[in-house]
């Protein structure tokens, strides 16, 4: 057991280290000092309280998108459509927020529920087509991403465009105050933590942590969780166990899509207080890296999201203070995915061999 945990932490750690080494080699070839670049990356993220505030703010949507991908993994499905579900969910909660002027006690939960329902329904399209027709969920969810982006682009450009706006990127008007999730700095300042009011970290982060616990509970302590994992491991065998795999597939895609929808909440309800066209820039895809690095476990996903939050924050600084374009971070993310997957495979085999020997 201890050995298993050790190896489970060691493998992702080594994968990240290796990926950074590859990044360092690229920088070295480009004539940059990798240590300087990485120093810049870290100084602007983890050496101050405000830096950490930004890191956790960046990590918030990643926790949701990582959970979305991980839950689908558990059910044996690849949800590459988190990006689309995120846009649909973000627009849904924005619509609620700009339409209904209600007390926060109603406004915030309703915003979350709208994001979940619409994101979930967007996911269900893929789940249903897979369950009913066997259509390849990877291609379907990718197509749905493009459709979701075009749809929200239409909505924010036409019926919901803010009148008389000057921002070159189309956006909706501002949410009513009842659907705004407040920032955390007043609480932190009361606790003696000196977080600047300009840091956008808001209570969505804590909502994300609550969802991590709920998903853990769902998977480990409920009948649904058991059935999801059973279908994920072997849909045919689960059928003999009295589980209806089609039903579970649709359920998984609803829940996964709902989490994907929630990944849009941080920006809409907690930061900009409006829907900005094309705001996400790949959060849904980074969720895949987060889920793999976190080994699809909620606690792992939190740590992986924080790591990617550091990278996102550092990438900005890299752009400003070094000659290395920030897209290198994206390449490093991809390398992390590959190394983690290879590491997992090695460890799986290693454990198998050890267990066989100990028998």
């Amino acid at each position: 057991m201890i050995r298993r945990i050790l190896i489970n932490i060691l493998a992702p750690f080594l994968a990240v280290l290796l990926a950074f080494s590859v990044g360092a080699i690229v920088m070295y070839i480009l004539g940059e000092n990798p240590f300087y670049v990485y120093k810049i990356l870290l100084i602007n993220s983890v050496t101050s309280i405000n830096g950490w505030g930004y890191v956790l703010f960046n990590a918030t949507p990643l926790i949701f998108s990582g959970l979305a991908v991980a839950l689908a993994f558990k059910g044996g499905l690849f949800n590459i459509g988190v990006e689309g579900q995120l846009y649909i969910g973000a627009f849904a909660c924005a619509w609620f927020g700009i339409t209904f002027n209600v007390h926060p006690i109603i406004g915030i939960p309703m915003g979350l529920i709208f994001a979940m329902i619409f994101g979930g329904l967007w996911g269900v399209i893929a789940g249903y087509l897979k369950a009913r027709f066997g259509a390849h969920e990877v291609i379907i969810t990718i197509m749905l991403n493009f459709i979701a982006m075009a749809l929200t682009n239409y909505l924010v450009n036409n019926p919901f465009k803010e009148p008389g706006q000057i921002n070159p990127i189309p956006q909706t008007k501002e949410l009513f105050s009842g659907s705004i999730i407040p920032r955390v700095y007043p609480l932190f300042n009361k606790l003696g933590i000196n977080l600047s009011p300009s840091v956008p970290l808001n209570y969505t982060f804590f909502i994300a942590i609550v969802f991590c616990i709920m998903i853990w509970y769902l998977l480990e302590r409920t009948k649904w969780g058991y059935e999801i994992k059973a279908v994920g491991l072997n849909p045919k065998a689960s059928r003999y166990g009295g589980i209806n795999p089609s039903y579970i597939m649709i359920l998984v895609m609803f829940l996964s899509g709902a989490l994907g929808g929630l990944a849009g909440v941080n920006d809409v309800m907690g930061y900009r207080y409006r829907f900005l066209d094309g705001f996400s820039r790949g959060t849904g895809f980074t969720g895949i890296a987060v889920a793999l690095l976190g080994k699809s476990s909620p606690i792992g996903i939190v740590f992986a999201s924080i790591l990617f939050g550091v990278l996102d924050r550092g990438a900005l600084a890299m752009d400003v203070f070094t000659n290395t374009p920030r897209e290198l971070i994206r390449v490093i993310q991809a390398i992390i995915i590959i190394f983690v997957a290879i590491g997992n495979e090695f460890i799986f085999r290693l454990l198998q061999r050890l267990e066989r020997e100990s028998e």
């Binding site: 480009l30 690849f78 590459i80 087509l129 027709f133 066997g134 259509a135 390849h136 990877v138 291609i139 379907i140 990718i142 197509m143 749905l144 991403n145 493009f146 459709i147 075009a150 749809l151 682009n153 239409y154 450009n157 036409n158 790949g282 895809f285 895949i288 890296a289 793999l292 374009p325 897209e327 290198l328 971070i329 994206r330 390449v331 993310q333 991809a334 390398i335 995915i337 590959i338 997957a341 290879i342 495979e345």
Partner: protein, 296 residues
């Protein structure tokens, strides 16, 4: 008369739109007939489109651009092969990672080389070939495409190599027991798909746009895979399916300016792809060991 010309124009436009899809789709056929799912085709097309522009930009010769595109596609495919065949990692995960990498890498390099985010400078396209004795012109890549379709059909169904490749996709263990080197065959399928996918991407930047734009493949790699499924993993079938998708894109371009919001017109190829995928199920059967790593 006018409608006749218009419809001919529409068919020609559809043919041009189908070229990048067809190349990638043929690549998919080689990869999946050997048993390796290659969703990295999206990223392969993207680096192909980028490579074509880089090669042409530095040499002013689009043929060098084509070669660069093919080698860039080959390199991404090589990573996919090493990760998913040698290390036996889940092929979807490897492909997804490579798609993310391709997005980052092309933007990263384009910022380094062209010193501008977003897009590259414009480049010279290919010199069109003229039909002897007429005014008709055709892109050399279209001629190459038809040649590749026919050659692929023959190679996969009429040669020893094709038989072995298909065996590796249908039952690698049986193939192995008969002395076929499954690993080598699967590598060959994936690498061919890299070269072909790179060519498809090259058509996008060399012929359609004459410029590289970030993320310019916009899902075409996945549409090509849907075409391959619709075409039942055969080169001729894949081309027919991709022609259908090309028709959808040609229609889409024609519809612009009719008062329909552009966003809904943009959705057409994606919706058509989804409908096709849903419609073919049950009739299209993948190679039995498609997507399953082989372990001796």
């Amino acid at each position: 008369m006018i409608s006749g010309i218009l419809s001919l124009e529409l068919l020609i436009s559809a043919l041009r739109m189908s070229v990048p899809l067809t190349f990638a789709s043929l690549g998919g056929v080689f990869s999946e007939r050997g048993g390796v799912v290659n969703i990295a085709l999206e990223g392969i097309m993207l680096v192909g489109a980028f490579g074509a522009v880089v090669g042409t930009y530095f040499t002013n010769n689009p043929w060098i651009g084509l070669l660069t595109a093919m080698s860039f596609g080959f390199l991404i495919a090589l990573i996919h092969a090493v990760v998913s065949i040698t290390f036996r990692i889940n092929q979807i995960i490897s492909g997804t990672a490579l798609n993310i990498m391709a997005t980052g890498l092309t933007t990263f390099l384009s910022r380094l080389i062209f010193k501008a985010a977003g897009s590259s400078p414009h480049i010279e396209g290919m010199v069109q070939w003229r039909f002897p004795g007429t005014n008709w012109q055709i892109s050399p890549l279209i001629v190459i495409m038809f040649a590749v379709i026919i050659i692929s059909q023959i190679v996969i169904f009429k040669t020893r190599y094709g038989l072995r490749l298909r065996a590796c996709g249908e039952n690698p263990y049986a193939a192995d027991s008969l002395g076929v080197d499954v690993i080598k065959m699967r590598y060959s399928g994936v690498l061919i798909s890299g070269v072909l996918g790179g060519l498809g991407g090259a058509f996008l930047s060399l012929e359609h746009a004459r410029v590289f734009v970030e993320g310019m493949t916009t899902g075409r790699g996945f549409i090509a895979l849907a075409g391959m499924i619709f075409g039942r993993w055969t080169p001729l079938g894949s081309f027919s399916a991709c022609f259908l998708f090309g028709l959808a894109e040609a229609f889409r371009m024609r519809l612009e300016g009719f008062g329909i919001p552009t966003q809904f017109i943009q959705m057409i190829p994606y919706i058509v792809t989804m409908c096709v995928l849903v419609g073919v199920v049950g009739r299209a059967v993948a190679p039995a060991y498609d997507g399953i790593p082989f372990e001796k």
